[in-house]
C-alpha cells in the first residue's frame, strides 16, 4: 500500500498525513507498520506515532515544536487543541 504518512526525522513522535485519513484508516509510512487513525486527520496535519503524555514535547523535524497539554494516544490528531506553543503563550 502507498504511504499515507511521512515521518520527517527518526526522533519524531508525530508524522505528517500526506492526505486526509479517515477514522480507523491504517496509517502507513516508511518503516512504520500500519496503525489506525483514531480520528480524522486532515491532509498535512500531524498524527501521533506513539502515546504522548501530558506535558511531553512534540517532536517534528527532530526538534521540539510544542508541548502537549494532555495525554495523546497513538493515532490521534495532534494540533492546537492538545498542544501549546512554548512561546507567545496567550
Amino acid at each position: 500500500m502507498k504511504d499515507n504518512i511521512l515521518v520527517i526525522h527518526p526522533r519524531d513522535n508525530v508524522a505528517v498525513a500526506l492526505r486526509t485519513l479517515a477514522v480507523g484508516e491504517q496509517a502507513t509510512g516508511k518503516g512504520i507498520a500500519g496503525f489506525p487513525a483514531l480520528e480524522e486527520i486532515p491532509a498535512s496535519h500531524k498524527i501521533a506515532l506513539r502515546d504522548i503524555s501530558a506535558g511531553e514535547e512534540i517532536i517534528k523535524y527532530g526538534e521540539t515544536v510544542a508541548v502537549s497539554t494532555r495525554h495523546i494516544k497513538k493515532g490521534e490528531w495532534v494540533h492546537t487543541h492538545n498542544l501549546e506553543s512554548q512561546r507567545w503563550k496567550k
Partner: protein
C-alpha cells in the same frame, strides 16, 4: 558528470551568466531604463523605487549596499548605470563602490546627458556595445568552492516545509559537502528555532549572532504587529496543520540543510566564509531575494506551495513546487515538483534530479522564471520616505 562552467571575473569570482545590467540609481529615471529595455531586450534592465528621500544611516547603508551589490554580483559582466544627478545614491557616490568590482561600467546622467530621451539613446548604445564585448568571453571550468547558492521560500503552504524545503535541505547538504556555499535569510521565519540554529553554529560567537538576529526579528515583529504578532503564524498556517511558530519555522530553516553554520552576514553583505551562511534579512520574498543576490549568490532555489512566479534579475531562480496540484496548475512557472515525494518518489531519487537540473542551469539552461522574464527587484527599507 558534475562538471560546471562559468565566466571568470577580475576579482576572482565566477558568474554563471554573462549579463549586461542596466541599473538606475534612483526611481526618477525608471522611464529611461524602460526605454532602454524596449530597445535592447537582451540587456538585464531593472527598475526600483529607491535612491532618494530616505536619510537614516541604516537605509543609506542598505541602499548603497544593494545597488553596488547587484553590480558586484558575479552573473553581471558589465553595467550601464543611469543616474539623474541630484539624488542621494548618485553616480559619483556609487562609483567608488562599484569600481571595486572591476567590471566595464558606462555611466550616464539625465541632467547632464541631454534629458531622458537622449540618455536612453546613449544608454541603449552603451548596452549594445557592452553586449558585443561580453559575448566573446568564453566559459571556463567553475570550481564548486566559487559557487554560492541561495535558498528561499515564499508563497508557502503546509507542504513547503514537508516536501520542497526538505528536498532543498538535502541539496544544501550536498552543496556544502562539495565545497560550495549555501546562504538563506528570512529572519522572521527563524523565530522559535534559535536554539536549533545556535547549536549548529561553528563557534560561540556565531551562536550568539544567530540568537541576537532572531531576538531582533521577534522583537521587531512584536513592535510592529503588537498583539497580532502571533499571526506570524496565521490562521491559514494553522488550517494547514502547523500548530506553532516553532513548527512553521522548522519547516523554513530545513531548506538550509543540516551543516554547521559558519557565518551570519548582514542584509546584502557578502560572506567571507564558505559552507552554510545565514543572512539577517527579512521574510518578504522580493526584499529577501535582493539581499541574497547582493551577497553574491549566482543561483537561487525557491520553494512555493501556493505558487509564486517571482524570479530575480540576472539570477536564475529554480522554482520548487511543494505539491503536485500547484506544479500542474503553474507548470510554466515551476521547475521541479517536490510534491512527487507525497506520491511515493523517494528523496534519494528527487535529490539527484535536482542536482542534475542545477548543473544544467549553472551551465546555461534557463529556468522557467528566467525564460519567462519574471524578474522582481525591490529591497528592504527601515523607515518611510520623507
Amino acid at each position: 558528470m558534475n562538471k560546471i562552467s562559468g565566466y571568470e571575473r577580475k576579482n576572482g569570482s565566477y558568474g554563471i551568466r554573462n549579463h549586461v545590467l542596466v541599473l538606475p540609481t534612483v526611481s526618477c529615471v525608471n522611464g529611461v531604463i524602460s526605454r532602454i529595455s524596449r530597445e535592447v531586450p537582451e540587456a538585464v534592465c531593472v527598475t526600483h523605487a529607491h535612491g532618494c528621500g530616505r536619510g537614516g544611516p541604516r537605509d543609506l547603508q542598505i541602499l548603497f549596499r544593494i545597488l553596488s551589490g547587484l553590480v558586484h554580483n558575479p552573473n553581471v559582466a558589465a553595467v550601464v548605470l543611469v543616474g539623474l544627478g541630484c539624488e542621494v545614491s548618485n553616480t559619483k557616490n556609487l562609483f567608488p563602490l562599484i569600481q571595486e568590482a572591476g567590471k566595464p561600467v558606462e555611466i550616464f546622467n539625465v541632467q547632464e546627458d541631454g534629458g531622458s530621451l537622449q540618455t536612453a539613446k546613449k544608454g541603449a548604445a552603451a548596452a549594445r556595445r557592452l553586449l558585443a564585448e561580453v559575448r566573446t568571453q568564453p566559459r571556463v571550468a567553475l570550481p564548486w568552492d566559487k559557487v554560492l547558492v541561495s535558498m528561499e521560500c515564499g508563497g508557502s503552504d503546509a507542504m513547503s516545509g514537508v516536501t520542497a524545503n526538505v528536498a532543498m535541505g538535502a541539496l544544501s547538504d550536498w552543496l556544502v559537502e562539495k565545497g560550495a556555499t549555501v546562504i538563506f535569510g528570512e529572519n522572521t521565519e527563524m523565530i522559535g528555532t534559535a536554539h536549533v540554529l545556535a547549536r549548529r553554529a561553528k563557534n560561540e560567537q556565531v551562536a550568539r549572532e544567530i540568537e541576537q538576529m532572531i531576538d531582533r526579528a521577534e522583537k521587531l515583529s512584536k513592535d510592529i504587529m503588537g498583539n497580532l504578532a502571533s499571526l506570524v503564524i496565521s490562521p491559514g498556517n494553522m488550517d494547514g496543520g502547523m500548530s506553532t511558530i516553532a513548527e512553521k519555522s522548522m519547516g523554513c530553516i530545513f531548506k538550509g540543510g543540516t551543516s554547521t553554520i559558519n557565518q551570519v552576514v548582514d542584509y546584502g553583505e557578502m560572506p567571507t566564509e564558505k559552507g552554510l551562511i545565514l543572512q539577517d534579512g527579512p521574510g518578504y520574498d522580493g526584499d529577501s531575494m535582493a539581499g541574497l543576490a547582493a551577497s553574491g549568490s549566482q543561483l537561487m532555489f525557491f520553494s512555493t506551495g501556493r505558487g509564486t512566479p517571482a524570479g530575480f534579475p540576472a539570477l536564475p531562480v529554480i522554482k520548487v513546487a511543494s505539491n503536485s496540484r500547484i506544479y500542474e496548475a503553474m507548470k510554466d512557472d515551476m521547475d521541479i515538483n517536490a510534491g512527487s515525494l507525497v506520491e511515493g518518489k523517494p528523496l534519494a531519487e528527487l535529490c539527484p534530479e535536482m542536482i542534475d537540473l542545477m548543473i544544467r542551469v549553472i551551465n546555461g539552461e534557463k529556468t522557467k522564471a528566467e525564460a519567462n522574464g519574471m524578474e522582481v527587484f525591490t529591497f528592504m527599507t527601515v523607515h518611510p520616505p520623507f
